[in-house]
């Protein structure tokens, strides 16, 4: 049975997907069998697998980065917006219809068992499942309906690493606020912070990292420079991405439960 780790973000577009892809490649290079996973993805960037199952293009490409075959279990739920209020809901690769936000909230509880099954399947067939959260785990008005963040971390018994985007500023506020809004048991899952999209000399943020650790009690595992002109596509140079992230990130906390003995 494989292990799982999870990346969550202080917001959307903080770079979770890219860092998950990089970790997929890094651990694949180390000889582990790695699978990406995101319980629920929202977007119109999708790919059809051989059995005509539709999954998010992001998990598809993360699987390529992990050098494993993409399977529908990597993204069991896909929401394709058709308007500001309605989305087509795709479960295990097949459409189950168009729903409003309210209708989908009512439908969600039925999806939990399938998420657990998909996770179990991936864990049974891989050494490491790298899970990506959705949006922020601190949208606590939506906590009762969560099927993408802390609920999944709990299902997978995964430690959580929190990614924040420093490019637009406000990382202290968003990290501190996220920790403050989480329940104590959720907060306890957060094992590290990752500061992403830093412009300039990352060593200049050393004091910032210390302040964040003091505020949250959680170490900053890396300050990742903004990767200019990076496009997350099928023909992406995943090795280059892996190198970029490996140099900036303390990988020890991600691999500490892996049976092959961690990274050299």
């Amino acid at each position: 049975m494989g292990h799982a780790i999870m990346l969550q973000g202080t917001g959307s577009s903080v770079g979770k997907s890219t860092i998950v892809a990089a970790l997929c490649r890094i651990f694949s290079q180390e000889g582990y069998r790695v699978a990406p996973f995101k319980s629920q993805n929202m977007g119109t960037d999708t790919v059809r697998l051989r059995q005509n199952q539709e999954i998010s293009g992001v998990q598809y490409r993360q699987a390529l980065a992990a050098q494993v075959e993409p399977v529908v279990e990597m993204n069991p739920i896909l929401l394709k917006p058709v308007s500001d209020l309605d989305s087509e809901v795709i479960v295990n690769g097949q459409s189950v219809g168009v729903m409003s936000a309210q209708e989908y909230i009512a439908y969600k509880p039925r999806l939990l068992a399938g998420i657990q099954d998909a996770l179990d399947f991936l864990k049974a067939n891989h050494d490491l499942v790298i899970i990506e959260g959705a949006g922020s785990p601190a949208e606590v008005n939506l906590r009762d309906h969560d099927i993408a963040n802390m609920v999944v971390a709990e299902m997978a018994a995964a430690p959580v690493f929190l990614v924040a985007d420093i490019h637009w500023g406000g990382v202290f506020a968003y990290i501190h606020g996220t920790m403050k809004l989480l329940l104590p048991k959720e907060r306890a899952r957060i094992q590290g912070l990752i500061i992403n999209k830093f412009s300039g000399d990352a060593t200049r943020f050393a004091e910032g990292s210390d302040i964040l650790t003091e505020l949250t009690g959680v170490p900053v595992l890396g300050v990742i420079p903004l990767l200019k002109a990076f496009s997350f596509e099928e023909n992406t140079d995943w090795d280059r991405l892996a190198d970029h992230i490996r140099d900036q990130l303390d990988l020890e906390p991600f691999s500490k439960n892996l049976s092959l003995g961690g990274l050299s």
Binding site: N141, L142, W168, F172, G177, E207
Partner: protein, 274 residues
């Protein structure tokens, strides 16, 4: 008599401070008040050239135009514009003073900011002040001259704007307010959740959570607007679009703001109404 003030700060850059400030400028002007925009410190690859050839922030320039004023250097006393090869042009009240890297500069920026603010306060009824970035960049806070230092100096009530579209806005608002010094927090009158798409009923419990954690109300939830009629300060590829202002789109945005923002609360906190 010194002008009444309101300050718009953000949980991040690009949260929509400038457009909200622009809408407030228009709304105050419609009430018959003499209004001016002010941003102490601004850094951008794009600038607005005034009639007398001064360089200031684009938003302050356009806001002056909206108000039918001639833009002046006082409205953005410190403007920084990257000039290539790692250097930055430092404009003081619109005039290029030096090209340098930024180190040590903020010490002498503060008196210039104070003076400009004072002058504007004597000339107008209301000043709409705009902050820069987040007010709680704790690793740089001792040097900041753009956010709470200005609010404290002007004793300005502060509205904190967060971009809901990007996610994590509850955390952004709660975290920002919680990291402020008590005196600074005392100036914040509430938050504005900007660029909201979707079902407001789902967001309402979130507003209650913000109130519960901060003791401060969400003063408005502004729906995402396809166009607010104002050029993005740093649009695609850092370049300013050709069309800087569309009256039709802006009027529509102002109407949206009027409809969704508790203006009476803001006017009261500013001391404009009893």
């Amino acid at each position: 008599m010194a002008a009444k003030t309101i300050m718009i700060q953000g949980t991040t850059s690009n949260a929509g401070k400038s457009v909200l400030a622009s809408a407030l400028c228009r709304l105050f002007a419609e009430s018959g008040l003499r209004v001016a925009p002010f941003k102490a410190w601004n850094m951008s690859a794009n600038s607005y050239t005034t009639k007398t050839g001064l360089q200031i922030g684009v938003a302050q320039g356009i806001q002056a135009e909206i108000l039918g004023l001639e833009a002046t250097g006082m409205m953005n006393p410190i403007f920084l514009k990257p000039s290539g090869n790692g250097k930055t042009g430092i404009y003081v009240r619109g005039e290029l003073m030096i090209e340098a890297n930024q180190g040590g500069f903020k010490d002498f920026a503060w008196p210039i900011i104070q003076e400009s603010l004072q002058e504007l306060q004597e000339m107008f009824d209301v000043l709409v002040l705009e902050g820069a970035g987040s007010p709680v960049e704790l690793n740089m806070k001792s040097k900041e001259v753009a956010n709470m230092r200005v609010a404290r100096y002007a004793n300005a009530p502060v509205l904190l704007v967060a971009d809901v579209h990007r996610g994590g806005s509850l955390a952004g608002v709660v975290g920002t307010i919680d990291l402020l010094e008590p005196e600074e927090k005392g100036l914040v009158i509430g938050s504005v959740l900007n660029k909201f798409r979707g079902d407001l009923e789902i967001l309402k419990p979130g507003c209650a959570i913000i109130k519960e954690y901060t003791g401060l109300p969400v003063v408005g939830v502004i729906p995402h607007c396809q166009s607010h009629g104002l050029a993005e300060e740093d649009g695609a590829e850092g370049r300013l679009g050709d069309e800087r202002f569309s009256e039709q789109d802006f009027s529509g945005f102002v109407a949206t703001v009027r409809e969704n923002l508790d203006l009476e609360y803001i006017y009261t906190k500013m001391g404009l109404v009893e």
